[in-house]
């Protein structure tokens, strides 16, 4: 792999985004990829191979999480980029923005506990036929932190049928043995869904934070595979 062929990630920054440096650190220092921050007021970004919409509280999440960010100039670029098949990953607040922008189906409700949740959760990788989780084994159980107020994924019955038929469900909350039920569901999310992709499989949204578990010193490096999968699929 020659130096200038290294994949190049654009990391979006909105006012209130707070995981952009975490993503930057993983991509640059751990994966050795190139990356740059992209301010939400920009409307064109050159040279990038993938877009990361990181977590945080864009605009304070004051109206609904992700609701205000979608009006930023950068979002029409994201739309264009994605329609040409570019890889887009939305993590936590990034996932919420993708839902608000209708780049992914469904919507996010408040956690049914009505509390912010920060803890490690077990996840089942239910699909590996996509550029984001291709590095995992199908059905593999991994551990990632979840950190959110609104991660209670909702989609109506028809929508649910559709995303299941198209294998768009990629991550599900479960327990250490892989059981997906109410007790392993941290937030009330429909069918324990933690992450989904679009029909074309180039846009991925997930509530857990893979960037927060890419080093053993932080307790887990299960998240690294997601970024590695992206890198491998870009090349």
């Amino acid at each position: 792999m020659s130096f200038d062929k290294k994949p190049y990630f654009g990391i979006l920054v909105f006012p209130g985004t707070n995981c952009e440096t975490d993503c930057f650190h993983v991509l640059k220092n751990i994966l050795g990829a190139r990356c740059k921050y992209v301010w939400h007021k920009e409307s064109q970004v050159e040279d990038i191979n993938a877009i990361v919409i990181p977590g945080g509280f864009s605009y304070g999440d004051y109206l609904r999480s992700g609701a205000v960010a979608k009006f930023s100039p950068i979002m029409s670029f994201v739309r264009k980029f994605a329609s040409k098949g570019g890889l887009v990953i939305g993590i936590c607040n990034g996932f919420q923005i993708l839902l608000e922008e209708s780049l992914l189906p469904g919507a996010m409700l408040r956690n049914n506990t009505l509390k912010f949740i920060c803890r490690y959760s077990h996840l089942k990788v239910t699909d590996t036929d996509n550029p984001f989780t291709s590095g995992y084994k199908s059905g593999e159980i991994i551990r990632m932190p979840i950190r959110h107020n609104e991660g209670n994924y909702y989609i109506d019955d028809n929508g649910l049928l559709e995303i299941k038929e198209n294998n768009q469900v990629i991550l599900k909350y479960c327990d250490s043995s892989g059981k997906e039920d109410a007790s392993s569901n941290p937030n009330g999310s429909i069918e324990n869904i933690a992450g989904i992709c679009n029909k074309k499989r180039n846009i991925f949204g997930l509530m857990p934070h893979p960037e927060a578990c890419c080093e053993k010193i932080l307790g887990s490096d299960d998240g690294k595979t997601i970024f590695e999968s992206m890198v491998n699929n870009i090349i």
Binding site: N18, T21, K41, C118
Partner: protein
């Protein structure tokens, strides 16, 4: 025209203080000037009761770059890096409006940190409430305070990595909310708050100014009573999104070298921040209230000057830089106005446009503010506390009533002992991806990216011990935080404190205060830990009754090699479990049951003698623990603190998800005393059996007692064959009890 002669009392000034003001001005102050004096001379801003005593702290040391006096203290951690931290109370606002009170407390302390040019990297908090089992109101306070802290810190993207929570009747009418924030900075980018350079400007950035928190500083310097309810305009509300933006703007301005000084706005708003800047630089200042962006146009000058609207900062700049600064603020959508100009006349002058509204010599607001040397006297209640609290028959009675398993379970279930998971799971404690030891262990650890270093933090205070003996209680608080750090392999390098007490005018309270300070001084001298910042909160009383004296200490420790960090969890089957530090003869001095959790759980009383501590001995023990960790001889370390040895063993088992078989020698044949008393200077460690001999040698050399008390084994905790409980059963109680209480 108002009759100021009558107004000064309403503003919380005393008659002699009013006379002093007239002397300084050589005339009657007008209402605006009087308001400014009243907030600047409030206990909250002037430390008029505590200043003389705080002077005696040890504030210098190997690592200290900045001691108390600036917005926060600074420690050198090598590689041109520094950490900046401070703790502050927000007790009264939280008692009246727990959600906003706690949120703005966090917001305030975070501003102190980035005012120094540091990026906040973590927060901690120390909380005290009444008993949540028996009161809906205490539950409500607890719930809302935790939510307020969480919502603010989470939105800011600053991990809340630790703290402590205690429940005791004494805090029923006056909860304590102490928040601490920590930042990291390049040493050459540190900021000061001093104003200098005639003609330089003060720029106000951030939120617009509204009527919130008018007279908040005076409010904080008053006891709580029925009237507090009616003083609601003092309540401020927080906007963490604005603060996040303000943080990024300030750090960008510093990075681009556009500002000369920075000061946060906290209590007493524009007044105190600008006066402090002027006073530090020995300059005068002209403020124009007409330039202040207002939320409510009808606000009058004195309201503008003392409003405590949150999320505002004041920067010192050269006028030529204003346009560029304004551009950056516009990019982020926040206000930016030049509201003040540095002068050389030593006067603090307030204008509205061209009209002069008030004029006060700067130093009369700060250095020449009144100082009180209060009287002190050993409080009477101490005469009625007996030393011997539990006789052999009392222990027998308990053992007759409950099995040892039941006693153990009751102790583990106490809200003061069981896991505070319910709290920290509402805090984002992982954002910024540096948290190497998550909450739940003796100390929380933040690694410093791109280095091998890490910083550990521990926070502690024991109101019951301090009630029985404020000197020893405060000394223990320092020793315990330091011991907690030692348990993760960190060398303590500096601390911050928050001193929560009743009314300083009462001689008994002031005696507690004085003794607690002496205790801190004593511990800091011996353990070689400087005090680099802190905060005093007086008037923690409700209906005339003071809380237990509650000095809270938070200490930072430096870890040189992240790969050597250990925590308190047992790691491997068959590892040896060793107790280091216990002096078998301890009991003759003191039964170490005084102020214990056992006494509270089974007898509901706070009495006896505060546990004894030999601080020189403590120092040797901590040194030993650090050496053992550095040599990689041990796999876990956990200090014995509230709840005693049984609780310590249980926690190491629960965190490690492993059982233990314990067989420890009994103190005077008394099982309960052995396992539930709270003697100081003990650490429970675990190690590979091969290392046992080496460890023993180290202990002998350090003259620290050593006793192998068991092995990591199986899925049960078994203690001297009296207690035997499955790990999963005890874990359930430990993990879920607070949640259970809160949902009832």
């Amino acid at each position: 025209m108002l009759d100021v002669e009558k107004e000064y009392i309403k503003l919380g000034l005393k008659e002699n203080e009013f006379e002093k003001i007239k002397g300084f001005l050589k005339r009657n102050p007008n209402y605006l000037e009087l308001s400014i004096y009243s907030v600047m001379w409030s206990e909250h801003c002037s430390y008029k009761s505590s200043r003389p005593l705080l002077k005696n702290f040890k504030t210098t040391g190997t690592y200290v770059l900045q001691g108390p006096g600036e917005n926060a203290g600074i420690l050198d951690i090598g590689d041109n890096q520094a950490i900046v931290f401070k703790m502050e109370s927000h007790n009264h606002p939280s008692a009246v409006e727990p959600y906003q009170g706690a949120a703005t407390g966090i917001g305030g302390i975070i501003r102190d940190i980035f005012a120094m040019g540091a990026r906040p990297i973590c927060s901690l908090n120390s909380l005290r409430f009444g008993k949540i089992e028996s009161s809906q109101h205490q539950k409500y306070l607890f719930e809302m305070v935790v939510k307020g802290i969480g919502d603010y810190g989470n939105c800011m993207g600053i991990p809340t990595i630790g703290g402590e929570v205690y429940f005791d009747k004494t805090y029923e009418g006056n909860c304590l909310v102490n928040a601490m924030s920590v930042g990291i900075a390049q040493q050459d980018r540190l900021m000061k708050s001093k104003a200098f350079g005639t003609g330089n400007q003060l720029v106000l950035m951030g939120s617009s100014t509204g009527r919130d928190g008018i007279h908040g500083a005076t409010f904080a310097s008053d006891e709580l009573n029925e009237k507090s309810e009616a003083r609601r305009p003092s309540v401020q509300v927080g906007d963490p999104f604005m603060e996040k933006v303000l943080l990024e703007v300030c750090l960008e301005l510093i990075e681009k070298k556009l500002i000369l000084g920075l000061q946060d706005m906290g209590a007493a708003g524009i007044t105190s921040s600008s006066v402090e800047m002027a006073s530090k630089g020995n300059v005068g200042l002209d403020i124009d209230v007409a330039k202040v962006p207002l939320r409510e146009p009808s606000m009058v000058p004195y309201e503008i000057m003392i409003s405590e609207s949150q999320e505002r900062m004041l920067a010192l700049i050269e006028p030529s830089k204003f346009a560029e600064i304004k551009n950056i603020c516009n990019e982020w959508n926040i206000n930016c106005e030049a509201i003040g100009t540095v002068t050389d006349n030593g006067l603090y002058r307030i204008f509205k446009g061209r009209e002069l509204l008030g004029e006060i010599p700067v130093k009369t607001l700060t250095d020449e503010a009144p100082v009180y040397h209060h009287e002190y006297e050993k409080p009477k209640y101490l005469q009625n506390i007996s030393d011997d609290i539990l006789q052999e028959e009392d222990y027998k009675k308990i053992e007759k009533k409950y099995s040892h398993n039941e006693i153990f379970k009751r102790m583990i279930a106490s809200p003061n002992i069981c896991s505070k998971k319910w709290v920290w799971e509402q805090y984002d404690h992982m954002v910024q991806t540096n948290t190497a030891v998550l909450p739940g262990h003796d100390s929380s650890v933040i690694r410093i990216k791109n280095t091998k270093k890490a910083i550990a933090f521990s926070c502690d205070g024991n109101g019951r011990y301090c009630y029985l003996d404020p000197f020893r209680g405060a000394l223990i608080a320092v020793a315990e935080t330091s011991r907690n750090l030692a348990c993760s392999g960190a060398l303590p390098i500096g601390l911050t404190d928050c001193l929560n007490f009743g009314m300083p005018e009462k001689p008994g309270i002031f005696w507690q205060f004085k003794n607690a300070i002496d205790g801190i001084i004593n511990a800091c001298e011996t353990l070689d830990i400087p005090v680099i910042s802190g905060n005093v909160s007086f008037y923690n009383e409700s209906f005339g009754k003071a809380i237990h004296p509650t000095p809270v200490i938070a200490t930072a420790g430096l870890i040189k090699d992240v790969d050597k960090i250990i925590d308190s969890a047992f790691k491997d089957e068959n590892d040896d479990i060793v107790l280091i530090g216990r002096k078998i003869n301890n009991e003759s001095v003191n039964d170490n049951m005084g102020g214990s959790e056992f006494l509270e759980v089974f007898f509901e009383k706070v009495s006896g003698k505060c546990p004894d501590i030999d601080i020189e001995y403590e120092k040797r023990l901590q040194r030993l623990c650090l050496d053992l960790i550095d040599g990689r001889f041990i796999k876990s370390a956990h200090d014995v603190s509230s709840g005693g040895l049984a609780v310590t063993i249980a926690e190491s088992c629960i965190y490690g998800k492993m059982g233990a078989e314990i067989n420890a020698s009994l103190l005077g044949n008394n099982f309960l005393k052995t396992f539930y008393s709270e003697p100081q200077s003990q650490i429970l460690i675990s190690c590979q059996p091969e290392n046992l001999e080496k460890i023993e040698k180290y202990c002998i050399e350090a003259k620290i007692p050593f006793e192998k008390i068991g092995k990591v084994k199986g899925t049960f905790i078994s203690i001297n064959s009296e207690i035997k409980i499955g790990i999963s059963e005890i874990t359930k109680i430990f993990d879920n009890n607070i949640e259970k209480i809160m949902t009832h």
